[in-house]
Structure formats: C-alpha cells, structure tokens
C-alpha cells in the first residue's frame, strides 16, 4: 500500500460520502438493490479515532474511474503517512510520559 497504488481519504460528511458512492456505483453498473458495491457503507469505514465522527479509508487506484467525484463537502484526500497516523492515533495516556516523546520508536504501521 503506497501513495502510488492507493488514494487516502478522510470523510467528514456521511451525506457526501453516500452521494459519492451512489453515483459511482451507478457508473459501475452496480444496482443499488444488491450487496455489490464499489466502496463499503459508511458504517464499515474506519472510525477516525481522534474525532470519532470522521471516517478514514484507503481506495485502490486501480478501482477508481475518471468519473468518480471526490469533490463533495467533507471529503478530504490525505497521504499515506497521515492516513496511518490518524488511523492509529490514540488518546494520550493519563500519565505524563514526557520522555517517551523523545524516543525514536519504530513506526509500526509500515510492515
């Protein structure tokens, strides 16, 4: 998974997201009365752990059509690094681990 193979998004508006997928499913010939679809439902997207209201997802470039319109309100393209950082963001521990911030810990999401 790289920026070359995928595009990464943060979705802040469910209505915009569903408009995107409805139009795109129609463009792909996926009738909306079956389970076949391009992208998952809003509830199946990854919850942004920081906001708990936004959603995160990566989309394979090979599956994106020129007609797919990502310009809707609340649809923000981000890069891989941001995607991973946000996806694995955690609330700070109750304790003040001031020195832990100075550590050069290996980023675990690049395996």
């Amino acid at each position: 998974m790289t920026d070359d193979t995928h595009r990464f998004y943060r979705f802040s508006n469910q209505t915009s997201y569903e408009a995107l997928t409805a139009a795109s499913d129609a463009a792909r010939g996926f009738p909306n009365d079956t389970a076949e679809r391009w992208l998952p439902t809003w509830d199946e997207l990854f919850v942004d752990p920081e906001t708990t209201t936004d959603r995160l997802y990566c989309i394979k470039r090979r599956n994106i059509l020129d007609t797919d319109d990502f310009s809707g309100e609340g649809i923000t393209e981000i890069d891989l690094e941001t995607y991973l950082e946000r996806l694995h963001w955690e609330e700070p521990m109750e304790e003040d681990l001031e020195m832990i911030d100075d550590l050069q810990l290996e980023e675990p999401w690049t395996n």
Partner: protein, 849 residues
C-alpha cells in the same frame, strides 16, 4: 517393503489377503502378478493376469524419486503461464532429466517447449535426434538437430537420462549444441555431459524472439492447443536459462520435496506456478509413491482367496482417476466361483455409476461415499463386513453402516474389474491408481482394524486430519486465475469427505475495493481494507494460516466469526500479503496434525517462519485466540501491538524474536495469559529494544528470568499485572522504568541487586516516575532491595548518570509498599541518604523521604 502381518495381528488371526503395490516392476512395465505378502495360514493366492493387454502398468518411483508421468494422450501435460521473466534475448540453455518409454517413434516428443509464437521447442526427433525450433529476432522460424541420435551416446529406450541444449544467437552465425548424460546423479551440477556431435552453426537474423505462450512439458502448443509431440514417460526435472551457464529463469523439479503425490498445481523453485493438465483415464500425474495404474478399459487382476471367506475387513488405498471408464468399475470385489460379485460377493468397492462417488457394496445393499472418486483425492477405504454389521469409511470419515444379515461366502477376488463369468468377463473396469490392498478376517477387533488403517496411512500418507475432521480448507490453489471472489463466484472451503466440513462453505467480498484477488494459486490482500465476509460461524479449533509472512497456527475459541483476513479470523487489524490457504482443524488435533497442516501450506509456497519485516498489530484484539503456536519470529523487526487485546490467550509458546527491537504493547491486555514462556528470546540479537507496556494489563502471575539485556525502554512494561515475585533480570541498559511495575497489587518481592550494574548510555527524566506506585503488597525488604541497588549503581540523577551532568527534570523514585511488613530499614534509610546526595528524590507511600 514387505508388511509383516504379525506386526499388526497375532499369527493366529493372520489375514487372508494382503496385497502390496511395492512392485519390482519397472516404470511403465505391465504387471502380471501382484504378490500376496500375507504369511498367515489363511493367506490367499497372488493376484494375476496372464493376458498382457489386460495387465495394469507400474508407476514406481524412479531411482527413489518422484516425477511427472505423462501418458502420451492429448490433454496431458504440465504448463507454466508466460511471464516477462521468461523472455529470451540472445541465449538459451535447456536442461532436463527424463525417462521416456522410447526416444524415437512415429512422432517427435517434447522435452521443454515455449512455442507457437516465439521462443523455442526442444524435443526428441522421431529418429532419436535431439532437435530444437526457435524464432530469431526477425521472427523467422529456425531449427536444427543433433549430428547424432541419442542412441549414439549409448542411450537406450527407457533409460533415465539427462539432456541439454544451448543456443548462442548473439550473432547471425548462431551456434547450437546438444548433449546427453546417463549419469545417475540427481543434481545438474554433478552431470558429466557428452556432446551429440559437433556444434551446429546456422545462419539467422540473430537473437531469439519471445512470445506469450506458456511453457509446456509432455506436449507442446502447435496450434493453440497443447496437444502435439506427446510424450509417454516421466519428467523428473527441467529448467531453462536465458544465458548459457546462468541461473534458471524457470526451474521445474518434480522430485522436489514440496511437490506432493497427485498435486495438480505447485510453485516451482523459481516461483512460477506449474499446472498439471489432466485428461481421460490415463491422466498426467505427479507420482511420489508407487502405484499400479488400471486403465479403466481392460486392466484386471484376479486371485483365489484360498479359503471360504464370508466375513472380514478390507482396506484399500487408491485414487480414482476419471469419471470415465465403465459404469460401476470395480476397485476390489470378492465372489463365489462362477457367481457374480455384485449379487454374491461380500466386499466390493467400486466407482459408482460414473459419478464422482465411491460405491461400497456391504454384502447386501450399497453405500455411497459422495464426491470421493476424484483424481485429486487419494483415499483409504476401510470396510468391515460381518453378519449383522456392515460399515465403510473413507479416510477414517464419512462412515456408512448397515445391519443386514448375511449368509454368503466367497473364494475369489478381483481387482480393477468385475468377476469372471462368461457374460461379464473383464468388464466394469475402473481407471484407478492402486496403492495398497489388504483383507483381514473378522476375528480381528475394531481396535486392531484401526491400527491397521493407521499403519497403512502412516506408511502411504494417504490422508490427514484435514480430510477426515477438518472444518474448512480455503485453498488458494482451488481458485481460478482471476476469479472474482464475490458472492457470485465465491471461495469454497468445503472439504469433501470430512465429517466436520463436507458441505459448501463460501466466503466472498461484495465490496469491490475490499476484495482480495487470486492468481489461481494464492490470494492477495493488497491493503488493510481487504477481507472476506463469511457466514457467521462458531467453530472452535486449530486455525492454520499459510501466508507470505509466515505459516501460523492458533487454537481459536467458539467466538462468532463473520470476517476472515489474511491471518485468519478477524481482529481489529487486517494484514496485507499473500494467502495460500486457511485450514480449521478440530480442537483434538495433535501436534503432528497441526504440523502436517502447516507443512501442506508451506509446501504450497507459504513461508514457514515469520518473514523479515514488521508484525505491527498483526493479531490485534484477536479475542478468539486461546493458544498461539507458531513462534519462529527471528525475522520480525517489530511486534508492536502484536497480540494486544488477546484477552482469551492462555498459552503462548516460546517465541524466538531475537532480532525484534519493538515489543511495545505486544501482549498488552492479554488478561488470560498467566505464564510467559521461559525459553522465549526477545530482542536478544537486537539493540535499543523497546518494551514499553509489553505485558501491561496482562494476566501474568509470574515472569521468567528472560534475557532482556538489549532493552532500553521499560515504560509500563509490567504495569497492572498479577505478578507476586519479580525475578532478577539484567535490565542494565534500561533508560526509562517509568510506571514499569505500577499497579501490581500482588507484587510482594522485588529482588536485591536488580540495579547494581545499571549502566545505561543515558537516563531519561522520570526514569522512576510512579515506577512502583500502586504496589500495596510490596515488602519493606523489597523497598530496601530497590533503593540499595539503585544506590549501588552509583548513578547520579543526570542524563549521563554522572556527577555534573545535565540534571533530570524529574528525578523522583516513586514507591508504594505495605507498611505492615515493617518500617523502612536502616539500610533503606542509608540508601536514601546516598541517593539524595546524588540528586535523587525518594517518594515512599506519597511522602518524600
């Protein structure tokens, strides 16, 4: 090898017929007699066939090695799809080890071909010359053959030989050489080659054109179908190189250990997937154990039982080769002399009415084992027929039983066809590969019969627990290249014949962007969205997953599962990589069963030990995992959150993660894990290892004396566990112990001397912040041990630990302890004084001392 009956039963109960197919017949030789190896007093006669046309043929091992058998019938070959790595430019070297029935004949015979639109076709000419066709850079077809035939190099038909051909087309004067060798060696590097005459030089346009047609063995593609230059014989190995003397671009070794008997797809040494194309009653077959091939047309062996036989046990190991052949083609039957086997025999295994079923006549009435007559299904049928109880099983599963009264007796037996009355003589033939037949009297016990079946299976390796008791096997090789794994064309994990999994079990993904893809051999999960939806299942057992990141086995509980990822049941992280298969065995699986399942997937191409790379979050929140088995993690660079949240994990075997430098949160929240393996190796070959929260909030009640000396960060490592007595560890490189043993309600004993040799490169501020806070059971002696030891280290509260260094902004040592165990000792107070003198502050039970 002769099977000594006395090893299975007492001499007094020795069997009637014991047939064994470890024949001394040579490859493709017709077999007139199959010796009865039974030694008991009731031993019957041999199985015989005097008519050559009706004799089965032998497919033994060749020099102890396996091979691809090809029958010379159209539709039977092995192929490898084109890929760009197979392209040729100016040179080619082809090497093969083969054993053909004849090296000349009415038609040429393929050795290795990649032909029709380019590349080459290396073959035996009809007169025994070696010959090659290729297309030069102008796409003009060129050809030449060796100056002499292989017979000139003392090769005889049926010999096992090496052949080699090289093309040097780097100029328009293209040089081609041919070689043979009869060396009985298994490795190409050990071969001494003999040229078949001098170099052939032909004028070309130089170069070799590459096309996109597949590589083929046993036949070549002359017109879009791989049905020309058909071979009758065996191919042991073949490879070709795009540079003479270079490394193979394709290396297909049918003798390799990872290639199994009957495989129809396998990954070869150079990574390509080899497909065995099969057609008809005499299909191309990977042979890895000796078999007798019955042709389904007229092959039959017969014999006399030597006594009147009315009850007993029958064991037959075989593979049904085709749904062709005669209806109700027989595997084995008995009959009274002059009477038909179907009406008067008592033991009868057949190919049921040209279906994919095995039919078993149990004296009276027929039982069916559905779907088990299959060229890809090696089976061991055991059949018990007694008066009042008849029972048959296939691969120790799919039991069919009846309770009929019997009053028949037989004295003859038949293999491969029906009994020999005048009207049905040599009829109802079955196409099959026979491995083993044994008949025992009814006087043996069922327990002994189980031993016999297990003996045969251990010896012939017919089936594994997957076949008999597996819940599912999602087999990458059972998919088609490019198959869309949606609900329209899902992936079926059914195990035909298994008592637990013999029904369709589909997984799929209907969301295009979350859908894994298949190349017909492995399933690729491209990112952290790819996964499968499965019908909710609550099957506990051993889950074995074979992937490009390792082959792992874990015991899973009966939690409902509705999603499968590359690493099995879903947690909260979806790993990416290639999946070769997922198997679910019953909880009763033994270590051997689990290893067999792992080996199967490893042979397919899955990595055995963990790959070299990260396993961050790999099994995050897998609340289904109870026991984690695969622990060869030498390649792991990070196990960050590896098993975090595995709240039902109770057993974790001795992990070997010697090169891993990050164990942060690895077992965080494994609240059922009370013990950690004492033989574990964690980062012992790494440096600057991070153990932050590694065992935090786990259920550990003790901790082994592991070598954690490479660790530098122990923040909250054992925070909130149930450890009561902490061992003496070497954490001398530790730079930060903040929260390390905090909230250990049960911790009483902390060893003396723990920090005596503490000597990190640097010390972080807050190194002992809240380190022993929330330890209400800690004894006064432990407090003394902690403080006297830190004092003994001689470290000052500076980043360097040296007097005069940069002071730590937080230099407090926080300890809570149980005052009921005593007041602070004189040694403790003395240590505090020493520490205070080095800038440390000591906070005991909330009071600065």
């Amino acid at each position: 090898m002769a099977l000594n009956l006395s090893t299975l039963t007492s001499p007094a109960t020795s069997g009637n017929v014991l047939q064994e197919v470890t024949t001394t017949a040579d490859f493709l030789e017709s077999v007139p007699v199959l010796r009865n190896l039974a030694r008991g007093t009731n031993a019957g006669g041999d199985a015989e066939q005097s008519v050559a046309l009706n004799q089965p043929k032998a497919l033994p091992l060749i020099d102890g090695e396996g091979y691809l058998y090809v029958s010379g019938i159209a539709g039977n070959s092995a192929t490898v799809p084109h890929e760009s790595s197979l392209n040729l430019t100016n040179e080619l070297e082809v090497v093969a080890r083969v054993k053909y029935r004849s090296y000349s004949g009415a038609d040429a015979q393929c050795i290795v071909a990649k032909w029709a639109y380019g590349d080459f076709n290396f073959r035996f000419h009809t007169s025994g010359y070696l010959e090659v066709f290729f297309k030069d850079s102008a796409n003009v077809s060129r050809s030449t053959s060796s100056a002499y035939t292989v017979y000139n190099n003392n090769v005889s038909d049926g010999d096992t030989i090496w052949v080699k051909m090289t093309i040097d087309a780097s100029s328009t004067s293209t040089n081609i050489d041919f070689y043979t060798s009869k060396d009985s060696v298994k490795n190409e590097g050990d071969v001494t080659w003999t040229a078949l005459g001098t170099t052939r030089t032909i004028t070309t346009n130089g170069g070799i054109t590459s096309g996109t047609n597949p590589v083929s063995f046993g036949a070549f593609d002359n017109s879009g179908n791989i049905n020309d230059d058909l071979v009758t014989g065996a191919i042991l190995k073949a490879n070709y190189k795009s540079a003479i003397g270079g490394s193979p671009v394709l290396d297909v070794d049918f003798t390799a250990n990872n290639v199994r008997h009957g495989d129809t797809k396998f990954k070869c040494a150079t990574g390509q997937v080899v497909t065995i194309n099969q057609s008809g009653n005499d299909p191309a077959t990977v042979i890895k154990k000796p078999v007798l091939r019955f042709d389904g047309v007229n092959s039959v062996l017969r014999g006399l039982l030597g006594h009147t036989h009315s009850e007993g046990y029958l064991f037959a190991a075989f593979t049904g080769l085709s749904t062709g052949g005669d209806r109700w083609g027989r595997v084995f039957t008995t009959n009274p002399e002059g009477l038909t086997d179907n009406a008067h025999g008592i033991q009868y295994i057949a190919h049921a009415a040209n279906t994919s079923d095995i039919g078993v006549e149990q004296g009276i009435g027929t039982a069916y084992h559905l779907g088990l007559w299959d060229k890809e299904k090696n089976v061991l049928v055991d059949l018990k027929v007694t008066n009042g109880l008849q029972r048959s099983r296939v691969n120790n599963a799919d039991e069919q039983a009846s309770t009929n009264s019997l009053n028949v007796s037989t004295d003859q037996f038949n293999i491969g066809a029906n009994e020999g009355t005048e009207t049905r003589n040599d009829g109802e033939n079955a196409p099959l590969d026979l491995e083993y037949l044994a008949l025992f009297p009814a006087t043996i016990t069922d327990a002994q019969a189980d031993q016999i079946r297990n003996y045969i299976n251990n010896r012939n390796r017919v089936f594994s627990l997957i076949d008999s008791q597996g819940y599912f096997f999602f087999d990458g090789a059972a998919t088609d290249d490019g198959q869309v794994l949606s609900s329209s064309t899902p992936w079926n994990g059914r195990i035909v014949g298994s008592d637990n999994g013999d029904s369709d079990f589909y997984i799929s993904q209907n969301t295009l962007d979350d859908r894994p893809t298949t190349d017909g051999y492995k399933i690729t999960f491209a990112d952290n969205t790819d996964h499968f939806d499965i019908p909710s299942t609550t099957q506990a057992g051993w889950q074995v997953v074979g992937t490009s990141k390792g082959t792992f086995a874990y015991r899973v509980n009966a939690n409902a599962v509705s999603e499968l990822t590359m690493l099995g049941n879903a947690g909260t992280y979806r790993a990416s990589g290639d999946l070769y298969g997922i198997i679910l065995l019953p909880e009763s699986a033994t270590n051997r069963d689990i290893e067999e399942a792992r080996k199967l997937l490893i042979d397919r191409g899955a990595l055995d030990a963990a790959y070299t790379g990260g396993f961050g979050s790999a099994w995050l929140n897998r609340t289904d995992i109870v026991e984690f088995r695969q622990t060869a993690f030498q390649g792991a660079t990070t196990l960050f959150r590896g098993w975090k949240g595995n709240s039902n994990l109770v057993s974790f075997s001795a992990i070997q993660a010697t090169n891993c430098s990050n164990f942060q949160d690895a077992w965080y929240g494994c609240s059922s894990l009370t013990q950690f393996p004492q033989d574990a190796k964690l980062g012992t070959e790494a440096s600057n290892v991070n153990f932050t929260s590694a065992w935090q909030s786990s259920g550990l009640t003790s901790f082994p004396a592991l070598d954690l000396s490479s660790g530098i960060i122990f923040v909250a490592s054992w925070n909130n566990t149930n450890i009561s007595k902490f061992p003496l560890l070497n954490l001398n490189n530790g730079r930060d112990f903040e929260l390390a043993w905090r909230n250990n309600n049960l911790l009483t004993d902390f060893p003396s001397g723990f920090f005596d040799s503490w000597n990190p490169i640097t010390i972080y501020s807050g190194v002992f912040n809240e380190t022993w806070d929330g330890c209400p059971a800690l004894t006064a002696t432990s407090v003394e041990n902690i403080l006297t030891s830190i004092a003994a280290s001689g470290k000052w509260s500076t980043q360097s630990g040296l007097e005069g260094g940069t002071a730590l902004s937080d230099a407090t040592i926080d300890i809570d302890y149980n005052v009921a165990t005593g007041s602070l000792t004189a040694a403790t107070l003395s240590a505090i004084e020493t520490l205070n003198g080095r800038g440390w502050s000591v906070n005991i039970n909330g009071v600065i001392q």
